[in-house]
């Protein structure tokens, strides 16, 4: 009866966990961890989180705490992992990282997470940029997640390739080239066509990320502020889609695979010259360059400019599920990991951009040059890029719309199997099938 294997596995897993739970739930009233009362906390993160050293530091400072960490390769898989365990009613870690894109889904079952107000969230509330803290608060005012990083977007570009194509190479000139504060997507695609004419190569890796940036930049994305679907009949969104489709049709997309890029080779072989970069993406690029054997000589740089103005894509939260055996200790760990001092260290390890004000100030003050990105002061640039960012409402099916509705439509553009109209109507059909009539 293999077809029901997941059900059987879930039951078996639940039984095993129930046994384990009864084994260690002797203290119904949670005692603080100490050398005499050792507590093991499990943490699940995804992508490049930069927590590895921090876990050790926390264990040192808090005798009796043992951290067992799991990192899942990418956000989409972390989403499946979290949903599966939520559905099974067990198996979630004590601290779970949640991505902004699927926070909307989590909010629908926010009662399955510990209200961090019971563990002092109100005292540290002002640490964060206000919109980030609000995002982690459910409609009933329960705080279910402490923000880790945010995703202000700058423009990654390859200086070597720019130079070879006769474009300026240094950051300031590149920012000016794209239009500085008034940078538009029109300019971005026009420059792409120039680059394509000069070199015959692609401008961006694939359409999906450009599209995510465009949508995240809008005041209202796939949902309106009051939670209604906002795709069909959205003229502004459709105009952006057509702009992107025209660029891709002109050969500006390298049709790469997201989060694969030929295990990083596409970043070293000159397949494309620009890349839309939220803060955390710098860490992703670092990982890709490492796996492809590239380094600072690959030519990547980071400019203080973004087409269409300020944009925020992604960022994560740390939550404590109700199933945790040690909610107080878990909340304490989550608060510590997301405190400004630790966010600075996280940012150094993962290249992402912190969501607390003090950590951001520290990054700006330090202005540490990022060797991998031609010594660009990435922290300062990201802080500039974060100015004017407004949080967009994320609905329950936001990540499904991004990946399962627009993903296929954009891939049709990349593969050259559809024009703008056909791809857009495909997206609408998919939206109807997968979301509206699901």
């Amino acid at each position: 009866m293999k077809f029901a294997r997941h059900t059987a596995a879930a039951i078996a897993g639940a039984a095993a966990l129930a046994l384990m739970a009864t084994g260690c739930s002797s203290s119904s009233k949670e005692q603080a961890a100490s050398a005499d009362n050792p507590v093991e906390l499990t943490v699940t993160t995804f992508g490049t989180f930069g927590y590895d050293d921090l876990y050790g530091e926390y264990e040192q400072a808090n005798p009796g705490i043992k951290i067992k960490a799991t990192n899942i390769d990418r956000g989409a898989n972390a989403r499946t992992d979290a949903f599966t365990k939520l559905a099974a009613g067990s198996g979630l870690s004590d601290v779970v990282a949640i991505e902004e894109g699927w926070l909307g889904s989590i909010m629908e079952v926010s009662d399955q997470f510990v209200d961090l107000n019971e563990h002092g969230a109100a005292d540290i509330k002002d640490n964060w940029v206000d919109w980030k803290f609000k995002q982690g608060t459910d409609p009933d005012g329960r705080v279910i997640g402490y923000g880790t990083d945010i995703g202000p977007q700058g423009l990654c570009y390859n200086g070597k390739l720019f130079e070879a194509a006769g474009l300026p190479k240094d950051r300031e000139s590149v920012a000016k080239l794209f239009g500085g504060e008034d940078a538009t997507w029109e300019t971005y695609f026009k420059l792409g066509e120039q680059y394509k004419a000069a070199t015959g190569k692609a401008w961006y890796d694939q359409s999906g990320f450009v599209w995510n940036s465009m949508v995240n930049q809008m005041e209202e994305g796939y949902y309106t502020k009051d939670g209604k679907l906002n795709v069909d009949g959205n003229a502004e969104m459709k105009a952006k889609f057509e702009l992107l489709a025209a660029g891709t049709a002109a050969g500006l997309s390298a049709n790469q695979t997201q989060f694969d890029w030929g295990t990083g080779k596409a970043f070293t072989d000159g397949s494309f010259a620009t890349f839309v970069c939220p803060g955390w993406m710098l860490g992703t690029i670092k990982g890709q360059l490492e796996s492809a054997g590239g380094g600072a000589d690959s030519g990547w740089d980071f400019a203080d400019v973004f087409p269409g103005g300020a944009s925020n894509w992604g960022g994560a939260f740390l939550s404590v599920p109700k199933t945790s055996e040690h909610p107080a200790e878990a909340a304490k760990l989550a608060a510590w990991l997301t405190a400004p001092e630790q966010q600075v260290k996280q940012s150094a390890a993962a290249n992402n951009f912190p969501s607390t004000l003090k950590a951001q100030e520290k990054l700006v003050a330090d202005a540490t040059p990022n060797v991998l990105f031609n010594n660009a002061p990435t922290g300062v640039i990201l802080a500039n890029r974060a100015k004017g960012v407004v949080a967009q409402f994320k609905g329950p099916d936001d990540s499904v719309i991004q990946e399962n509705v627009f993903g296929p439509a954009l891939k049709m553009l990349d593969g050259g199997t559809a024009n703008a109209d056909k791809a857009w109507s495909e997206a609408l059909t998919l939206l109807n099938d997968l979301v509206v009539n699901n």
Binding site: M1, E108, F259, A266, M412
Partner: protein, 333 residues
């Protein structure tokens, strides 16, 4: 047996009241076999039957992955899934990948088994070697093949490019993607099936081959007239197990493009993969359970067809002297 003795004695005298020990004996004879087989059935009821029934119950509801049970909708989920183009697409992909894998796999496995049945040097070495791919986990196999079949950086397209051929779009075109996935399946299962067929071949009496050879039958004739008919029951077993396995294929297409549930345009989304997408991405547990049940029914259907075909083959065979007849002939001789 005690029962028959009792019955024989019945009309003669009034049956003496059986002693406690006798009763225990009767109970032992009657009940023990059931107790011995009980563990299997109890386990099956727990991990097989219960999920089966529970899945059916879930399929009758609007059931959200996270929010849980919703309204009772009767057979509405079945109606909707049967009208769902993606469901039929997934069924087409599943059958296509199944045919692309099962047919070449069986042919090659038969050939391999026939070769291994010959007098080879270091026989055990060769026999164990064909089993090697089977002991590698499917995830590892899928990752290696996925890398090889990469469209822009894959080994195969690199080689094709070097000899001046156009790259094959292994992941974005339907047929190439099915071939690529079937290759993974074949890599893993051919050796395994070859060994099962080999075991059957070794049970074929050698004197049959000898007398056939004396009568002037060549190697090919001996294979088709002796080996194949003799291993038919094993062939049926291999066909049925690979049908069930083939219809439930998940790991290979899942990992062939880890970012999507079976290709950006569902080029190689199999039914189990669609079930997975329905449950864990679209979060519709009701419909996912419906798909699980439909898949179950389809597998039962395939099993029945297999059974009928193999029975027909068996009866068609009866016209010629069957194995049993031949054996009988031998013993009387």
């Amino acid at each position: 047996m005690t029962t028959t003795l009792n019955r024989a004695a019945k009309p003669a005298v009034i049956k003496p009241k059986p002693t406690w020990k006798q009763r225990l004996n009767v109970f032992d004879v009657k009940a023990s076999p059931y107790l011995y087989v009980a563990p299997f059935f109890i386990l099956f009821a727990l991990v097989g039957l219960f999920p089966l029934v529970y899945t059916f119950v879930v399929s009758l509801f609007d059931w959200h992955l996270l929010k849980g049970q919703g309204d009772f909708v009767g057979l509405q989920n079945f109606v909707e899934v049967l009208q769902d183009r993606f469901f039929w697409n997934s069924l087409f992909n599943t059958v296509s990948i199944f045919l692309l894998s099962a047919i070449p796999q069986l042919a090659v496995a038969l050939f391999l088994a026939a070769m291994l049945d010959q007098n080879l040097r270091a026989r055990t070495f060769w026999r164990m070697s064909v089993l090697l791919p089977y002991i590698v986990t499917p995830v590892a196999v899928a990752m290696i093949f996925t890398n090889m079949f990469g469209e822009q950086y894959g080994l195969i397209n690199n080689v094709l490019g070097n000899i001046g051929l156009d790259p094959v779009m292994w992941k974005s075109e339907t047929l190439p993607s099915h071939i690529a996935i079937a290759t993974m399946v074949n890599w893993r299962w051919t050796g395994y099936n070859a060994l099962i067929l080999l075991a059957a071949m070794q049970a074929v009496p050698r004197d049959l081959y000898e007398s056939a050879a004396l009568d002037g039958a060549g190697a090919v004739r001996r294979f088709f007239s002796i080996t194949l008919p003799s291993i038919r029951p094993t062939m049926v077993f291999v066909v049925i197990t690979s049908t069930i396995g083939g219809l439930q294929i998940f790991t290979e297409p899942r990992l062939f493009d880890p970012a999507t549930a079976g290709g950006s345009q569902r080029q190689f989304q199999t039914t189990v993969l669609y079930l997975w997408e329905m449950a864990f991405q679209r979060q519709n547990f009701g419909k996912a359970s419906t798909i699980a049940w439909l898949l179950f029914l389809i597998i039962v259907l395939f099993g029945l067809v297999n059974y009928l075909i193999s029975r027909r083959i068996a009866t068609a065979d009866a016209a010629k002297p069957s194995r049993a007849a031949r054996r009988a002939e031998r013993t009387t001789r």
